[in-house]
Subunit: 220 residues, 2 copies
C-alpha cells in the first residue's frame, strides 16, 4: 500500500512537471509573438490554454484522490498541498501568457515602433525564476528555492525601470501611447510570472523544511 502510495506521489510530481513545461512554453510563445509580431503564434497560446486548464484539473483530482485514500504522513501531506498550490500558480503563469498574447494582438493593428523596454530580457529573467523554482522542487532543495527570492528583486527592479522610462517616453511621444501602454502591461504580466515563481519557491520550502516562509523573505 505504501509503495503504491509513493508511486502515486511520483506520478503526481511528473504530471506537475508536464504542467510546468506547458506554462513555460506558453510564455515563451507569447514573447516570441511580441518580438516578431506574428499573430499566428498568439493563436497557439490561446489554444494551449485549454490544455493547461485541463491538466490543472487532472492534477488537482489526483492530489485529492491521494488525500482521500491515504492518511498521509506530515511530509507527504505537505508535499501534496504544495503540489496543489504550485499547480494553481502554474495555471496562472499560463494566464499571463494569454494576457500577453491578447496585448500583442492589439498591437498588431498599430505601427511597430521601438519602445524603451526590453520585453524579451524581462521574460528571460522571469522564466529563469520559474525554472529555478522547479529545479528546487525536483530536487527538494530549499537552498535553491531561497535563491529565487533574490532573482525576484531583480525582476521587480527591471520592471520599475521599464515603468519609469515608458512614462517619460509617453510624455515625449503621446502619439505612441497605445503601443507604450501595451508594452507596460506586458512588462507587468512578466513581473507577475516572477511572483508566481516566488510562490512556487515558498511552497518548496514549506514542503521540505516544514516551515512556512511566506511573507518573511519577500513581498509584492
Amino acid at each position: 500500500m505504501r509503495v503504491k502510495f509513493h508511486q502515486n506521489l511520483d506520478e503526481l510530481k511528473e504530471r506537475l512537471l508536464v504542467m510546468a513545461g506547458m506554462a513555460e512554453q506558453a510564455i515563451q510563445r507569447s514573447v516570441e509573438a511580441y518580438r516578431t509580431r506574428d499573430l499566428s503564434i498568439c493563436e497557439l497560446v490561446f489554444h494551449s490554454e485549454t490544455a493547461i486548464n485541463k491538466l490543472e484539473r487532472e492534477i488537482d483530482q489526483m492530489a485529492l484522490d491521494l488525500l482521500a485514500m491515504e492518511q498521509p504522513m506530515a511530509i507527504d501531506l505537505r508535499f501534496i498541498l504544495s503540489v496543489i498550490r504550485i499547480n494553481a500558480d502554474l495555471e496562472r503563469v499560463g494566464d499571463q501568457a494569454v494576457n500577453i498574447a491578447l496585448r500583442v494582438r492589439e498591437m498588431g493593428a498599430l505601427a511597430n515602433v521601438d519602445l524603451p523596454v526590453d520585453i524579451p530580457r524581462l521574460a528571460s529573467l522571469s522564466l529563469a525564476m520559474v525554472r529555478k523554482a522547479l529545479q528546487a522542487f525536483i530536487e527538494g532543495n530549499a537552498e535553491m528555492a531561497d535563491s529565487v527570492f533574490e532573482m525576484d528583486d531583480q525582476v521587480d527592479a527591471m520592471n520599475d525601470a521599464a515603468y519609469r522610462s515608458l512614462t517619460t517616453f509617453i510624455k515625449e511621444r503621446p502619439d505612441l501611447t497605445p503601443q507604450s501602454l501595451n508594452a507596460l502591461i506586458i512588462a507587468r504580466n512578466l513581473e507577475r510570472v516572477g511572483d508566481h515563481a516566488t510562490n512556487v519557491a515558498e511552497d518548496v520550502i514549506f514542503w521540505v523544511r516544514g516551515a512556512d516562509v511566506r511573507h518573511n523573505v519577500t513581498s509584492n
Copy 2:
C-alpha cells in the same frame, strides 16, 4: 470525534470570514486613500498586510491539522481544500490593496487632477463580487456563486472602458501621464480583486457540487 471534527470545520470557516473582512477592509481603505489623497490611510493598509499574512498562515495550519488528524469524507475534504484556496485568494486581495496604496502614495507627489476613470465605482463593483462570493460560501449556495461570474463580466467591461478612455486622455494631456498611468494600474488592481472573487465562487461550487467548474464558465 466526528462532533469535534465538525466543530473544527466551523471554526475554520469563522476564521476564513475574519480573513475576508480584513481583505475587504484593506481594499476599502486603499480606495478611500485614493479618493481623499490621505496618505495616512495608506499606512493603515501597509500595517494591515502583516496581520492578513499572519492570519493566512494560521488558517492554512488549521486546515493542514484537520487533514492530518482525520480521514475526512469527500465533501469535508473538498471543503477544507476550498478553504485553503479561498484563503490564498483573500490574501492576494490584500496584496492588491497594498499595490493600490503604493500607487496612491506615488500620486501624492503629483497634482491632483480629474481623470476619466471612476475608481470608487470600480472598487464598489469588485467588492460586491467578493461579498457575493463569500455569501455563497457561508450559505454553501452554488447558484449564488454562479451569479458572481456575470458580475465579473461587468467589471471587465468597466475596466476595458477605463483603459480606452485613459489612452485617449494621455494622448491629449501627455503632461498628466504619471497620474493617468497610476490610475490605470489601480483600475487593473481592482479588476484582479474581481478575478479573485471569481476564484472564490468557483471554489464554492467545487465544494458544494463536487464538480470543478473552473475555466468552463469564465476566463481571464
